[in-house]
């Protein structure tokens, strides 16, 4: 098993590789006997935006959830800043898929963002002035401050997505795992999200994003993980995001042509 690593640009030794934001080794997840993620190993370096790319059913969401301990893995090991995710849960921010919840739930936008602070509050402490200020600040960062009191079902899909991002920001994490934040959002929201990602990166945070739109990969991300059940490749976008690797990742489902203008994709 080769251990593919993103840490090459910073040239780290094995010793301080222990403190990398996310280190996954031999991770395998199976539903009903069928492995959906198989023997995946990689390390994420700090201060990078990483795209997780692969066809439908490649196990992208599952990999994200297994890294968080949301779905059980049958083998492998996940380390967050050198410790297990249980020990460092407060360092992880999570953005689930928007469709994973019922938006007709009786609550408003500010309340949802406040949920991001619950992890630090513990069982019985109520969110106070400090938490409310944090939540409002996070809403401002995603351009949703005017919608704080809005019932969440009255928000558009893109606005709901931004609320989820604001909630993850309220977790004040170091490592962010985002499950398709760009899915079904309009251009305004897409721009808001990408500028937020840039900002997180500037703050030295690490963001792993499940992403579908291959045409924007080169513009948005520093590194990519190419996944199709097994890890096909991992590295800087300029090094491995090419026709050959995409062909391997998408197999027969996609024709990949590399021209002067970049990569051209066509469904088969």
């Amino acid at each position: 098993m080769t251990h593919l690593s993103l840490s090459d640009p910073i040239a780290v030794t094995d010793n301080n590789a222990m403190a990398m934001p996310l280190q996954v080794t031999g991770l395998t997840v199976a539903y009903h006997k069928k492995p959906v993620v198989q023997d995946v190993s990689f390390t994420l370096a700090p201060g990078r935006l990483i795209g997780l790319i692969g066809p439908n059913g490649a196990g992208k969401s599952t990999l994200l959830k297994a890294s968080l301990g949301l779905v059980p893995s049958i083998a492998g090991d996940v380390k967050v800043y050198g410790k297990t995710y249980q020990q460092h849960r407060k360092k992880i921010g999570y953005v689930p898929q928007r469709e994973s919840v019922d938006w007709d739930f009786p609550t408003n936008a500010l309340d949802v963002v406040l949920m991001g602070t619950y992890g630090r509050l513990g069982w019985f402490r109520r969110p106070g002035k400090h938490e409310h200020e944090t939540a409002m600040e996070c809403l401002r960062k995603v351009g949703m401050a005017d919608y704080a009191q809005r019932q969440i079902s009255q928000l558009s899909g893109g606005q709901q997505q931004r609320i989820f991002l604001a909630r993850a920001l309220a977790q004040q994490a170091q490592l962010y795992l985002m499950d398709e934040p760009f899915a079904g959002v309009d251009a305004t929201t897409e721009k808001a999200i990408i500028s937020l990602l840039e900002q997180l990166k500037a703050e030295g945070k690490t963001v792993l994003v499940v992403h579908h739109d291959l045409s924007t990969v080169e513009a948005y991300f520093d590194d990519v993980l190419l996944l199709n059940r097994t890890l096909i490749g991992v590295g800087a976008v300029k090094d491995i995001f090419n026709a050959d690797m995409l062909q391997q990742t998408y197999g027969g489902k996609m024709a990949v042509l590399q021209g002067k203008e970049g990569i051209v994709l066509a469904g088969k």
Binding site: H32, L68, Y94, P106, T107, G119, W123, P127
Partner: protein, 305 residues
């Protein structure tokens, strides 16, 4: 009619029963809100039906009709039913609704079988177990009301103390788990509270209709507000009022079981809410659609914003 109600309220025995039923409605309205939002409305139905064999076995073992014994029997059966549902969903591809259907009907079938057996046996006639099908609040004693009061208090204290966490696991359990909150424990706690309130309510409302007292006040309350804490409070009030109306109504007509009338009262609250609630109600929706249409026509069909 008002004289009858007056006489009923003045009767100290009836007053205890009314208090008991109102507390029952209050707590099931509160817990029911979370169950409805978690899309687990039917779990209460499965639990209530599952309680019947527990009650019958408790009677067969002890040979006497005791509320405490029945409570324990129903509780054990309810907990077994939740284990059964979880076991089926975990170890097969059967979804939760189907698993609940299997468990509900199996337990209830066994319950009816045992009930028939008891009634055909020697002392079965006086067992009064058939009252547990549709509930008879009149059979409640002062001690039962104390138990209900204790349960309601416990339930409300837990719901207030853990309100934020219950809200989070109802809205987005995956996120809560990712945060490191003990989601599985909180879900089991919520389920345990449901089992307790269902079991406590069986004497008054009966196994067949108990679930309605969990579901109906909660969905009625949802119409009036977009805030969870208000929904929970309104649901509790609707539940309590249904308990009050149900008890008075069944007290006025001899042989009328409490369960069906309590549920009918709750359904009236639901109908009024669905029709008249501001914004989410049917009339409000109709009115706003009409206004939008008129405004559109007034400005000649083209928006000049």
């Amino acid at each position: 009619m008002w004289n009858t109600i007056g006489a009923l309220i003045l009767d100290p025995n009836v007053r205890w029963i009314i208090v008991g039923c109102m507390l029952l409605g209050l707590s099931s309205g509160v817990i029911g809100s979370f169950m409805v939002l978690r899309k687990q409305s039917l779990i209460g139905d499965a639990l209530a039906h599952a309680a019947l064999p527990g009650i019958c076995i408790a009677f067969m073992l002890s040979g006497v009709k005791s509320t405490g014994g029945f409570f324990i029997g129903a509780l054990v059966a309810g907990v077994l039913a939740t284990f059964g549902i979880r076991w089926i969903t975990q170890y097969s591809r059967i979804k939760q609704d189907a698993a609940m259907g299997i468990i509900l009907s199996f337990f209830f079938g066994v319950g009816v079988l045992l009930l028939t057996h008891i009634q055909h046996s020697g002392d079965g006639g006086q067992s009064g177990l058939d009252k547990y099908l549709f509930g008879q609040a009149a059979s409640m004693m002062q001690s039962d009301v104390y138990v209900l009061a204790g349960i309601s208090l416990l339930m409300i204290v837990i719901c207030v103390a853990l309100f934020r966490l219950f809200k989070l696991i109802s809205f987005d359990p995956g996120f809560a788990k990712g945060m490191g909150l003990p989601v599985a424990f909180l879900e089991q706690l919520l389920l345990l509270l449901t089992v307790i309130i269902v079991v406590a309510g069986i004497q008054a409302v009966g196994v067949v209709l108990m679930s309605a007292l969990l579901i109906t006040p909660a969905i009625a309350a949802r119409f009036w507000t977009d805030r969870l804490h208000i929904m929970v409070m309104v649901s509790g009030i609707f539940g309590a009022l249904s308990g009050l109306i149900g008890t008075l109504w069944s007290g006025m007509v001899s042989q009328l079981p409490t369960g069906p009338v309590t549920v009918l009262a709750a359904t009236v609250f639901f109908a009024i809410s669905a029709l008249c609630a501001p914004r989410r109600g049917w009339l409000a929706k109709l009115w706003s659609r009409k206004q939008t249409k008129e405004q559109w026509q007034r400005q000649g069909g083209i928006s000049h914003e």
